[in-house]
């Protein structure tokens, strides 16, 4: 198993978006694993993403299922195609459109810190 130090990211409360890159086949993956899901090689390298990307899809959530999330409605859940080439889910401004160039900051949501994208010109 990996001896390499993991980079902390938003899923553990750090202000960062981290992805993995396989040293053997070059594949990128966003969901952290101890191996490359494309070729199986061990210990893909953790890399910090720039936070830049383009909006791939959006949905404005108006009906939430828990008291913690209900306090935030409406909130815009988006899929972003990052500049690095992986796709991620995040929040963003409510008026974002598909194709918009965006940049991430971090915002509190339901007791956590989450990536939140705003439009860049």
């Amino acid at each position: 198993m990996s001896e390499r130090k993991q980079l902390a990211d938003w899923t553990t409360g750090a202000e960062a978006i981290v992805y993995q890159s396989c040293a053997r086949c070059g594949s990128l993956q966003y969901f952290r694993r101890s191996f490359c899901s494309a070729c199986g090689a061990a210990d893909p390298l953790d890399k910090r993403a720039s936070g830049e990307g383009r909006v791939y899809a959006t949905t404005l959530v108006c009906r939430a299922a828990t008291p913690e999330t209900r306090a935030h409605i409406p909130y815009n859940i988006i899929l972003v195609d990052t500049a690095e080439g992986f796709r991620m889910m995040a929040h963003g401004d409510n008026d974002l459109c598909i194709g918009d160039k965006v940049k991430a900051r971090f915002a509190p949501f339901a007791g956590r810190l989450i990536p939140y994208f705003e439009k860049t010109k």
Partner: protein, 378 residues
């Protein structure tokens, strides 16, 4: 060879005081009677899951409760695709000689057994626990994302999607078991409460109580029988974040494999039973399956193509959108309705010709797909 020899379906909606096992038992008894069999003749049991009453061994819990001792039994879990996955497995089990009569059963008191919030919350867990669920998504949100992308890429509008809610409601009007039996218009869908835009309340299937079952047998038990002609699956991803491009989703892969297995073409199909958890699900799947060109499903719906007397009658019981959705049983109702149509027993919903049917189920967020072709034999 394998045949769908019996089907059973309860009304969907509220079944106050009924447990998941009660609803499963009602549907199972109906299906076994419909097949002309005795309980003791059922030697295989497949069941789905219940979010209200989770259990690690639901099939044997059910078998004991129902009073049968099968030679083969276990649960199957592929979300909304579970019903057709059970049909496919049952087909393979009887073909392999493992069992003679396999009962597939699903039922859940999802509406009255837990709060609506609890249902929504339980289902949202199909998302990634670290990278998606903390963002507060719901199942409508996952499909809302897919809808926005699909609408953008193929020029589909919210009014287009609304056509499918209207069509499913129109079909449900004549089924006494349907949860919703008041006509709606495109304007009603457009004016309904926003849930996860572009999806609004009437774009979403309801939460229901209900049960459905069918028996798959090695030999037919009646004069007109429904044979499994061929089936296939495809599983491309679990989470919407990891989904392939919109033009490479699992439905296209599954239907291509199933066509090959069944040696049929889409032009042979006379009746369609397609998963419709949301209007976008139905629109996309119809196009992925080849029942309409890209971006053209809505105009076909508008022109009556998918209506009872149209060229390709679709979900004539009202689908998940209007008959209702009780979990595993939800899409099993599509198979029940198909069998009734194929055997000429669909009463005032009867279509002219249901000699060859295409069925398709989808689980997760377009993650798991099962396609099946059924044919009528005399």
């Amino acid at each position: 060879m394998s045949f769908i020899t019996g089907v059973g379906l309860t009304a969907y909606g509220r079944h106050e005081g009924c447990s998941s096992l009660d609803l499963m038992s009602k549907a199972a008894a109906l299906a076994i009677a419909d097949a002309g069999l005795k309980r003791a003749e059922i030697d295989g049991v497949l069941c789905g899951y219940s979010t209200v009453s989770p259990h690690i061994m639901l099939a044997t819990v059910f078998a004991e409760h129902f009073g049968i001792k099968p030679v083969y039994a276990h649960a199957v879990q592929v979300g909304g695709a579970t019903g057709l996955a059970m049909a496919m497995l049952a087909h393979q089990l009887v073909e392999a000689g493992v069992a003679k009569h396999v009962l597939a059963v699903g039922g859940e008191n999802r509406l009255t057994g837990q709060s609506r919030d609890a249902s929504i919350q339980a289902l949202a867990q199909v998302g990634h626990p670290d990278y998606e669920v903390p963002l507060g998504p719901t199942i409508p949100a996952y499909y809302g994302l897919v809808a926005s992308g699909y609408m953008h890429e193929f020029g589909v509008t919210q009014e287009d999607l609304a056509e499918f809610a209207v069509l499913m409601r129109k079909h449900a009007l004549t089924h006494r078991g349907a949860q919703f039996r008041e006509a709606i218009s495109v304007a009603d869908v457009m004016a309904s409460k926003p849930v996860a835009l572009p999806l609004k309340l009437l774009d979403c299937c309801p939460v229901s109580d209900g049960g459905a079952a069918f028996v798959v047998s090695r030999e037919t038990t009646s004069e007109i029988s429904v044979r499994v002609r061929g089936c296939a699956q495809a599983h491309t991803h679990q989470h919407v974040t990891a989904a392939p491009p919109l033009s490479e989703l699992g439905a296209e892969i599954a239907v291509a494999r199933a066509k090959q297995a069944a040696r049929v073409a889409i032009s042979d199909v006379r009746y369609a039973a397609v998963y419709d958890s949301f209007t976008i699900t139905l629109a996309m799947l119809l196009e992925d399956l080849g029942l309409a060109g890209r971006g053209e499903a809505a105009s076909r719906a508008r022109s009556g193509y998918f209506s009872r007397h149209g060229e390709m009658p679709l979900n004539t019981h009202g689908g998940l959108l209007s008959y209702g959705h009780c979990g595993v049983g939800g899409a099993m109702a599509h198979l029940v309705e198909t069998q009734l149509q194929m055997t000429g027993r669909a009463a005032d919903r009867q279509v002219r010709d249901a000699s060859l049917a295409l069925l398709h189920g989808d689980g997760g967020v377009l993650s798991s797909h099962v396609t099946m072709f059924l044919e009528r034999v005399r």
